[in-house]
Symmetry: D3
Subunit: 151 residues, 6 copies
């Protein structure tokens, strides 16, 4: 669904939370095959059973990609993704964990290079079924300003 929103229409503090998705062994195998990272941390159950983690742990890039993917339910045609800051792998994710993503509009900033737009910084948190943060980052979103569109 399209949902056009100008920068002024997004309120700081707004929170959006996605559906949950259970991370399966299949996702581990698919991500290894998709990226080529077959490190034993993700793929060798015997090796990881003896490790400090007690079992295979998800690729950080997978939790990031799926965590962001969970939010892909509506498109703001007045905005585009500029990048991410402070991406941190806070806790391991295991096979069978169920994750969801919470996005909070955190702050706005002018963008000197794009006067007709501004930057919206969103706090992205991926949570597990115990409401623990497993991954956190800040999404930088460049959004058009209404005042400019109106002028």
């Amino acid at each position: 669904m399209e949902r056009p929103r100008y920068l002024e229409e997004i309120e700081i503090g707004e929170v959006r939370e996605t559906y949950g998705r259970t991370i399966t062994e299949t996702d581990f195998v698919v991500h290894a095959g998709h990226t080529g990272d077959f490190f034993p941390h993700h793929m060798d159950a015997e090796f990881m059973a003896k490790s400090e983690f007690g079992g295979r742990i998800a690729h950080g890039t997978m939790i990031f990609a799926i965590g962001v993917g969970l939010t892909a339910t509506e498109i703001n045609p007045l905005a585009f993704s500029y990048g991410y800051d402070r991406l941190r792998f806070v806790r391991p994710v295991f096979i069978g964990d169920t994750i969801r993503t919470r996005i909070t509009a955190a702050r706005k900033e002018d963008d000197p290079k794009r006067p007709q737009s501004g930057k919206l910084f969103e706090t992205v948190q991926v949570l597990n079924q115990r409401d623990e943060v497993v991954l956190a980052c800040e999404h930088i979103y460049v959004v058009q300003k209404k005042e400019v569109a109106a002028a």
Copy 2:
């Protein structure tokens, strides 16, 4: 292959470059299915043919995941990945582009919380077949110190 290296053994300026990998239409479809992001920017050839890009563009999360995955050829058992900073989607990647990843050891920093280790900051650049940077970020790597291991 395992290749144990202490923080002191990694020289600032060291560069490592991966093999190339051609990004295929299959990767677009697999990434959409893996993450659930079926936005028309990645999946609708008709819509994107009329856009400013002229064709479907890769998911940013895919170029990040595959770009990092390309580097997964040797394991340093004395280190772990802490996170990423300043992840930027610099240029679009199209079906048929061939990417590779260049990692440069950029600087070291003490880690007050982990005196036996330090932080290594690596500049990560994903390049296309024209040697243009398509994605850039900084990888934060926590690596054990030899002086501590020796003590």
Copy 3:
């Protein structure tokens, strides 16, 4: 996104249309591998080049599954899917065609077995990039009645 709607709140004639999705060679290969149907109509380019179709044609079950999948963007927690009638494969779909789905609320009917709900019949049409119908069917949706919930 959840969007609860009682039967009375859905108007006959309402139309919903999805984003487009380009059907790729990858989808053909994935569907064959998912279902086990590797018939040459879908998998043998040489054989099909000489056929009346001039090329590989999509599995009917794939256009149905993807056509329905395109509509999976909002959940009505007051309804469930009962089945489909008159599913017809109207035109072949080729690699590179871009499909989208149009759903029209067609008519309502009482459901003797479920007095608290009624049946909503939706006309489902999968269209290609030339606006031709490639697949059609009628979806039977069982939706709760507001009058009953209110009582």
Copy 4:
């Protein structure tokens, strides 16, 4: 294998049953990724553990596509698939259930638009490991007539 059969050679009451196939968590993940339907009914183990079903249930379109795919072992070059009627999702299918498909030649009908062929209606039943019907529909198959070929 090809097995050409004219309409007259197919006897009403003929039954064909396929091999079994265990529906795995992988199939759930593949179908979600193939169709874009990531609804929590299929993907969120936590949410479904608390539901009336007690666990994730298969997409109806998957059981249809795999159930039909199981029958794709021999090709009748004298016939083509016209469509399906009365497709019903009779019982939920869970991860670990083993399904097979039973096809019964049910009745024949003339096809006014195609005098050289007739319609064969086949009852399609997908059964689980307890021999319960989980999905049912009627397949409409257009098959050439021998009398016409002979004339």
Copy 5:
């Protein structure tokens, strides 16, 4: 389909040929992801365009696995696969080539360890659309003897 056949019922010289299957770029990507072999010979279009082959070439293990898979249309419950001899990668397979498999019953041998069975050696040839052999091997099949079953 099951088709039980005793060793005596298989005639030397018997030939079976499968349907064709076009090897797609998708198959290359799936096989790399399935096996973890992302060597540039299979995955880097730029590098291979400059090579003696002029383009990406299929993994040998893929042509073997798909070539054998094409023959998996009927099961002989009186036999099992013992192994393969003289597996040779005769010609490269490129994206877009269409392969099929031809199996010829070549010779029989007693199996001292299994007096109730014998070994059937089958010549396996995978052919491309120009009828060139791209892969060859000898399949060793252990098949029950009728004389023993009858005794």
Copy 6:
């Protein structure tokens, strides 16, 4: 990583062992879908629970392809793969088994057709988590000679 080695530089008796990889139900489903072999031995848990094996067993072609794929970590640009001899499926592999591959340089032979190279025969063993051989074969590797390159 590239690691050029002439035939003379490879010592008979050299052993290389790969990381482990747990064979998952996902791999079974992916391999069936990749090759088209959906035989109940690999796909029907109910049927196999009653068999002599007690459960689904891996496709032989999968253990071969993954076993070989595990070794694909370094490229010798002075060599190419000629084929495999005596490929044997020694023990069944079940869902959850963890395999790794051991390669031993076994013997060298002149290659009359290629005087500038020689054949290196490598013993390939795929082992499970109990160090039992599950698959064995001999890899024939054609490697350039240093004496020739030097001349």
